[in-house]
Symmetry: C2
Subunit: 124 residues, 2 copies
Amino acid sequence: MKNLGRHILAEIYDCDPTILNNSGLIEEILVKAALEAGAEVREVAFHKFSPQGVSGVVIISESHLTIHTWPELGYAAVDVFTCGDRVNPWDACNYISKGLCAKHMDATEVKRGLFDMPVKAINF
Amino acid sequence: MKNLGRHILAEIYDCDPTILNNSGLIEEILVKAALEAGAEVREVAFHKFSPQGVSGVVIISESHLTIHTWPELGYAAVDVFTCGDRVNPWDACNYISKGLCAKHMDATEVKRGLFDMPVKAINF
């Protein structure tokens, strides 16, 4: 089986709560994570919740990065989904974990888009 | 262990390629899926690739829905991530699969944000 993409689901604990509640900084960390991994940023959308918490996404040519933060728990749910062989999603994931000053991360990689035959998609 | 969220990773195969390449329609399907499931839409960002394919996200108060489509393969990678007990992510996922006229879906639910103690986050 050949997979189109790699998707990291990261549970990032014991982060700096001040960072987790700073929407502008979270956006900057995610965009820089995408760029550091060599991805091409296409769209960005972030939302600051009241009284706290940030949700955001960076759509890249290679798929996406998302984050949801719970400052009150020091926790962030992060996804990094990349297609193709050019970008390593772990580079972006580790950059984000470092940016959040996290003390602990549990992350799993899931293969996405499984096909029996090797396939070459043309949109990345 | 108590989890903050539920995340469905759906591999949706044998979809209608015309729908998969229609950015406006894909956006409509994802937004309606969120609303049908009872979620509150906060931000929307979609991107149409050349020569084909669509990537998009709907940020909801309860987390997010994302999609990446490969019309040439009849395939879509869909994620529905919801927090709290009010919204059932499977409702949104099944709505999307139906909207894409899919013949086959492989989907898995992953628990996100595991904590030893029951927690009550306050931002949803």
